[in-house]
């Protein structure tokens, strides 16, 4: 009987044995190469002893006990033999040494450091962590920012969002699952010096006047590793000029959050973008005065031969959704929770006849109505920002066939929280959205220089939805839509080259795609996969190609995860070549269209 009990008990243990799985380990943001591999057993990760040196730990083994030391801490754990290999429990060890760990997927363990303190005093920012940290400092341009990345560091989402009252222009957030990022505005290019106090602590010291902190303040951050969520830190939000380029150079950093259709030819758009959420001061003010309507200031009207721009400042964040209704000879915007002085202004430019603004009360909510009396069809771009609205009307071409008569929507794919494809990680990570924008801006500039009225669906790191992008093109009665993308697959260096997609059944779109792809093939030096119907990718096709009402194409310039392609697509010269090819393709298409008429 005893034998049966022992046998059964062994059988009962089998599931534990079966539950053992190989797993990977990332340590402070860096993936470790482990051969033999680590094993997941229950919620613990067992790592072969031979890999101890990869963690930089000193260890002494006695029988089945292992003592692991860092400079200031000690962990005593038991050794366990798995598949004949002596292993130590990584999660238990990490916890005893002050680090934390989390299963980021069932077969991947991340060992991380938590933020313990962030504070500032007298021109210094100090950061303390529970375990080792190696900060990386670099700068970003437009606007100038100092960035301090902490790989392998996490903080709770409940962490205070900003160092209020410090006056440093400092903000921070979880940049990705394993990187904490601190960003400081660099005004007047002050010098910054990084001082590592200990493995757990470092300080940033500024010498520029803009960064002299007032007083001393700081926050303890009660982090919980399992709550770390990727979040991108955005640059401080400032009102930005509109995005339409009508025979002018592209604005250095314009922005568009295009309208959303609701229903056809009626659009609504949120006044509050994702970027606004990072503008902590405004957000705080917004919360404090939740019910108070925004007062719109006096509109600034500018008009030239081809564009009419109205920029309206507001004294606080604009909330709710602005509705835009397009009628035959007018455009009506209704801005909720806002007030404005009544204004009426006439124009004699043969383009916009009259502009009117008026407040009205709908229930308990104030609304501002802006009405444009327009002559003939116009392109419309609407750019809500934190504290201003910009409406740009672009003259519609009188005739087709010349590039100077075209309204072309250039769409840099993805943006904001939608990175598109990416390659690499940490500071070397390359996002598709970034190269899309860089190339699309060059395309926009060349088309604009050639005489077209160009509308960029985004000109910074924002995310207009696909519906917004389509609405921008359709409302503007654009004559062409060119979306710029880069491709990737899950097998690095397996696929290379360019595609240009069109929506199945669109003869003009197909023609435009063929013209552009032919020109890109001539300059790219990459394999040319030709013009392809988007239904070859998926039966329904691509949203922006399917729903735009004009010839529309989506260019895939190269593969972000192919070394040859990546070297090219990140090179400005190559981006310029692609832009020239798109321009030539558009010209060839117009020439063909003119000849066939």
């Amino acid at each position: 009987m005893r034998k049966i009990v022992v046998l059964a008990a062994l059988l009962a243990l089998c599931p534990w044995i079966w539950a053992q799985e190989a797993c990977t380990v990332s340590y402070l943001g860096k993936r470790l190469t482990l051969d033999p591999s680590a094993s997941r057993l229950g919620d613990e990760c067992f790592v072969p002893l031979k890999h101890l040196s990869l963690f930089g730990w000193k260890a002494n083994a006695k029988d089945t006990r292992l003592t692991i030391r860092t400079n200031d801490r000690k962990a005593e754990v038991f050794v366990r033999t798995i598949d004949g290999v002596d292993c130590f429990p990584l999660r238990a060890t990490a916890q005893l040494l002050g680090a934390t760990s989390a299963w980021t997927d069932p077969a991947k363990l991340a060992v991380l450091t938590r933020i313990e303190w962030i504070g500032a005093s007298d021109g210094e920012l100090s950061i303390k962590t529970t375990y080792s940290v190696t900060p990386k400092m670099f700068t970003l341009k437009a606007p100038d920012r100092l960035v301090i990345d902490l790989p392998g560091v996490v903080a709770s989402k409940e962490a205070p969002p900003a160092l209020k009252g410090v006056g440093l222009g400092v903000r921070y957030a979880q940049f990705d699952a394993e990187t904490f990022r601190i960003v400081c505005d660099l005004v007047g290019q002050p010098a910054a010096k990084l001082r590592q106090i200990s493995e757990h602590e470092f300080k940033i010291q500024w010498t520029g006047a803009q960064f002299q902190a007032r007083g001393s303040t700081g926050f303890e951050v009660a982090a919980r590793h399992d709550e770390a969520k990727p979040k991108v830190v955005a640059a401080a939000v400032k009102p930005k000029p509109p995005v339409v380029q009508a025979k002018v150079e592209p604005q250095p950093e314009p922005k568009i959050d295009a309208p959303k259709p609701e229903p056809q030819d009626e659009v609504t758009t949120p006044s509050k973008t994702a970027e606004h959420e990072t503008e902590q001061e405004d957000a705080a003010q917004d919360t404090a005065d939740e019910t108070k309507p925004a007062k719109l200031g006096k509109p600034v009207l500018t008009s030239d031969k081809d564009a009419f721009v109205v920029t309206i400042p507001a004294d606080r964040l604009l909330k709710g959704k602005t509705s835009i209704k397009r009628k035959e000879h007018s455009l009506v915007l209704e801005i909720p929770n806002a007030t404005a002085d009544e204004l009426e202004q006439s124009f004699d430019d043969g383009f916009v006849e009259k502009f009117k603004s008026a407040s009205k009360l709908v229930g308990q909510v104030g609304r501002v109505v802006l009405e444009f009396a327009i002559k003939g069809p116009v392109g419309v771009a609407f750019s809500p920002s934190a504290k201003q609205l910009a409406i740009t009307l672009t003259r519609k071409p009188a005739k087709a066939g010349k590039i100077s008569d075209q309204v072309i929507v250039v769409d840099p794919g993805h943006g904001g929280t939608d990175s598109g494809a990416h390659f690499g990680s940490g500071v070397t990570r390359l996002d598709e959205k970034t190269v899309n924008l860089a190339t699309a801006k060059k395309v926009a500039k060349l088309l604009s220089n050639a005489g077209a009225a160009v509308i960029l669906t985004r000109s910074d790191d924002s995310y207009p939805s696909l519906k917004d992008r389509v609405a921008t093109a359709n409302l503007s009665e654009a004559t062409m839509f060119v979306s710029i993308h880069h491709n990737s697959n899950k097998l690095a260096n397996s696929r290379s080259g360019t595609f240009t997609y069109y929506h199945s059944g669109g003869a003009q779109s197909k023609k435009l795609a063929e013209c552009i792809e032919k020109e890109i093939a001539a300059v790219s030096g990459l394999p040319n996969h030709g013009a392809k119907a988007d239904t070859t990718v998926h039966k329904t096709g691509m949203h922006v190609l399917r729903n735009t009402k004009m010839p529309a194409v989506l260019v895939e310039v190269g593969y972000i995860n192919h070394a040859t392609d990546r070297e090219k697509i990140t090179d400005e010269e190559f981006q310029n070549k692609v832009a020239e090819a798109v321009l030539k393709g558009v010209e060839a298409y117009l020439k063909d269209a003119g000849e066939s008429q």
Partner: protein, 166 residues
Amino acid sequence: MKRVFAVVVVLLLVAGGVVYFLWPRSSGSNQGAATPSGSINQRDTVTIYHPTYKNDQIGFEKNPIKVADGNPIATAINGMLREPKLFPAGVQLLDSKVEGDTVTLDFSKELRAGYSTDEEEAVLKSISTSMGQFKELNKVRIFVEGKPIDTLGNIDLSEPMEVERQ
């Protein structure tokens, strides 16, 4: 009496081991509270489709596995979600519902990661092919956190996808 006691102890140990083995881990894939209908629910095994790239075309490796929790749809999707090269880390199937010939798959927000055109194609093809093994289904609707989505990146998902049969 002793023999009865020993048998009870052995049974408890076996049951404990089985429960441990089958119990979903906190950071693992959710089994999904699916409500599959009709003959879908009768299946003992399902096929897990793992995408492969050959000659520039997406193909699939097929691995049959036993249905877990009596839920073939959740088993097929959860098996696929464990493919680390295809789906973003942390994606879980929250729910699945069958109405007529359409299955609605509700995923966690991690599904909304960045995708290139090829990656999006691979994800959608994997889902539609995985659901194509159920003859009762013709269409798939994708939800994220209980809400329908129009796209994962570029491809128009405003209408249900058709399943793909292998």
